[in-house]
Every structure is written in structure tokens, then in C-alpha cells.
Symmetry: C2
Subunit: 248 residues, 2 copies
């Protein structure tokens, strides 16, 4: 039984909001919540939660978050950022959450600290791994009621994502390595729920020396094939200027 090893730290967990963009919309990775087989509980209807886990002994919290994402996606080289910690008493008071806590042998009165991370992926790069539970992508706009306080965590992750995307070039993390300018524009339009003018958007991107055109075009599309681009973090780090813009 693994639990004995990690017992000491069952009160520290990481929850990962894994965002995956599929060329049309933003999705989030959910796993089914069931009770362990040892302890069947017929009145527990499975539902869905964000992905998360305890932090193991000796493991840093970022390692724990990386492990959680890797176990489900096989990907470890991705944008991953700690955005907020959830540790209020009574954040897991719903009857179903309490049942679940008891089923894994936890005292449901005890406070659980969840450190929230969000991660960015292009869904096309991923094939989901079966880890003994059902796993699925769900469009963020269609997420229903989640287990624990995960609707709250998802909302705050979206806020953090939007905020960061406004000022730093992380949107590329949602695209495949080679992408078209229309794909890039669509990512921002989807996440900010707005539209941009194509010509102005491209003029702006043109000034960003870290968005680099490749000697390559789309293939097999039933229209004029688009130029492919890549993002270079190295060039970004060299060319960015510090800015000062407390907002009007």
C-alpha cells in the first residue's frame, strides 16, 4: 500500500489546471472522481475534478505538479506556473467531498492545502494516458459542476491565465511548435472573447522579432497555404524591454 509512504503529507496537494487548445477552443483536462474499489459506496455517483495529487515525501511542489501532468499526458516540457494556493477551512465541506475524504482514510475535519498550478498544451500534441480513471478534455465554457472546490480553482486559473497572457508571450504554449498567424490570433480571440483586425494583428506580430517565420507552409489545405511561424524564447528574452504602464 503506497499510502503509508506518503501519509505524512496527505494534507499538502497540488491541483493542476491543464489547459489544452485544440485549434478552435480552450479545453481543460478533467479526471473522473470515484471511490477506491476496496470501499464501494453505491450512493456515490462519479463526477469530475481537476487533476491533482498529494505531494510525496522529499518532492518539491513543482516536481509534484510536473508529475501529475506527466502521468496523464506523457509531457514534461511545458509551461507550468504556480498561480494560487487554496487552504481555507471548510473548502471541502460538501457531503460528497467529505465522503471522498473519508474513503481515502482522511479526517474530513482536517485542513487540506492545495497549491494551484496551471499548464498549457496544444491538445494535438497529447494522447491521454489511462491512469486507472477516466480522463477527458472539456471545453472550458462547458465545464459543469466539479468536485471539491475545483470550479473556484478553475476560475482563478482562467483569471491568472488571462492576466499573464496580456503581458507575456505565453499564448504560444497553447499552439503546436509550428503555427500560422491566424491560429495565433484565434488563441487570443478565444481566450479574451473578442475579435481583432487581421491586418493590425499581423502588423503588431511583425514587430515581435521573437515570432519567427519558417521556410515552410501549411500543406493539404483547400485554400492558399499559410506561412508557418515559431516562437523563440531566447530572442524574446533578448529583445523585450521593461515596460511601465499602469493602466488607463
Amino acid at each position: 500500500m503506497l499510502e503509508a509512504v506518503s501519509q505524512l503529507n496527505t494534507y499538502i496537494s497540488v491541483d493542476c489546471v491543464v489547459f489544452g487548445y485544440d485549434a478552435e477552443k480552450l479545453n481543460v483536462l478533467l479526471v473522473e472522481r470515484t471511490l477506491s474499489d476496496d470501499e464501494p459506496m453505491p450512493d456515490f455517483q462519479p463526477d469530475w475534478t481537476l487533476t491533482g495529487n498529494h505531494v510525496y515525501e522529499g518532492e518539491t511542489i513543482k516536481e509534484a505538479a510536473t508529475r501529475v501532468v506527466f502521468n496523464l499526458t506523457g509531457i514534461s516540457d511545458l509551461y507550468l506556473e504556480q498561480f494560487k494556493t487554496f487552504a481555507d477551512p471548510g473548502r471541502l465541506l460538501k457531503p460528497k467531498d467529505q465522503k471522498w475524504l473519508r474513503s481515502i482514510g482522511k479526517n474530513p475535519e482536517e485542513r487540506v492545502v492545495s497549491i494551484g498550478y496551471f499548464a498549457l498544451l496544444a491538445t494535438q500534441d497529447v494522447s491521454l494516458k489511462w491512469m486507472g480513471r477516466r480522463v477527458k478534455w472539456t471545453p472550458v465554457k462547458k465545464v459543469g459542476q466539479l468536485g471539491f472546490d475545483h470550479n473556484e480553482i478553475l476560475e482563478q486559473a482562467m483569471d491568472a491565465l488571462r492576466n499573464k497572457m496580456k503581458h507575456e508571450p505565453i499564448g504560444f504554449g497553447l499552439l503546436p511548435e509550428k503555427f500560422t498567424l491566424t491560429q495565433l490570433q484565434t488563441v487570443y480571440e478565444q481566450i479574451f472573447d473578442t475579435r481583432f483586425d487581421k491586418r493590425n494583428f499581423r502588423k503588431k506580430v511583425n514587430r515581435m522579432k521573437y515570432v519567427i517565420p519558417l521556410n515552410e507552409k501549411q500543406k493539404g489545405v483547400p485554400h492558399k497555404p499559410a506561412q508557418l511561424y515559431m516562437f523563440s524564447r531566447e530572442v524574446f528574452e533578448k529583445t523585450k524591454k521593461e515596460l511601465f504602464d499602469f493602466v488607463i
Copy 2:
């Protein structure tokens, strides 16, 4: 003995990086770290740490952070933001940290989660409270070696402060309610370690409708007295526009 009450949560603490601006430079609030009187330990030289405390039973983490700041400053109406959580194993392995942990009856092997908050104040609004320990303002640029991993936490708080100040109007939290434009400019110059052109700065601030001139001027200064201004969060919330600027 208070400890019995809060025993369950000694593994969750908040650390508050309280920034205070004194019209010249940015300071941070430090408290002296000593061992409890019951357990004198002659080879433990007092040193300094950020302010922090356990989270009490039934208390939210933000309440805990507010309490920590209030106990030392008497102020509860201030900018306070959770910026990062520190929970890695071995973050308190220095011999002095281990001694201190043992002195309060904690197992030094056990992981301690610290949720980091930063707070903003004008030092002139504050008279520090004696809470059984020495407390002082120290210029951020002159902070020496702190206890625990608090140098790391302070650095990350500075990063978070700078980042937020670039894009949101929180610099006002470091000034008294009524301030001059030169004071405002100096805050930003100090924190970003740069200089701005006075005329251009004032033109920019002029466009910010939420920086409101008062019918009041400085008094008793040996030069032309400056116009006083205040910040209005309400006006800000109404007039800000969402912006889109992944940085060049």
C-alpha cells in the same frame, strides 16, 4: 498555553512581506527571531525574519495574513495580496532554523507550508507595535541575511510587486492618502530603479482620470507648494480598459 489550540495547523503558516515607503525609499518590516524565554539557548544569536505566523484553526489564510499585519502595525485596511507559496522540503535546513523549530516543539523533519503575502503601506501612517519582540523597518536594498528562507521570499515578493505595479495602479498603496505628483513619480523611480521625465510623467498621469487633484496644497515647505492628489479606485474600475499587449 496557546499552542494546544493551534497545534493542528503548525504546518501551515503565512509569511507577510510588509512593504513600507517613507518618501525616499522602499522598506520592509522585519521582526527579531529569538527563542522562547522558557527555553533559553545561549548559543542562539537573535537575527531577523519577515513577519509571519501559523494559521489558526477556523481562520482563512487571508485572515491570518491580515491578523499578522494588524498585530504589528494596527492597520487592517491595506493592500494585501497572496503572491506565492513556499513548501519545498528542506527549505528550513539551516542549523539555526532547525534549532528554532525544535524550540517551539516542532519536528524539524516535517514539511512547513508558508503562504506568502505582500502588503503595502506608507510608513508615516504607521507606528509599530511591540508584540514581545523587536520590530523594525529596513530599506529593502540593505536587508542582510534573514532567518529561514526569507531572503528568497523577499526577492520573490519584490518580483511580484514590480510585476503588478507595471500593469495595475497599486503604487498608491505606498503613499499617504494625499500625495503630490513628484511623490508618485519617486515611488516608481525607486522601485524600478530608473528615472522618468517630469513633464512626460505628468502628462501621462493627467490622462488617468482616477488620479484626482484636491483643493489643497502642501504647507510649510520651503519652496513652491505642490498640488495634492488622491487615488480613486472607483473611478479606476469604471475607466480602465482591458488591454492586450504581449510585450515587444
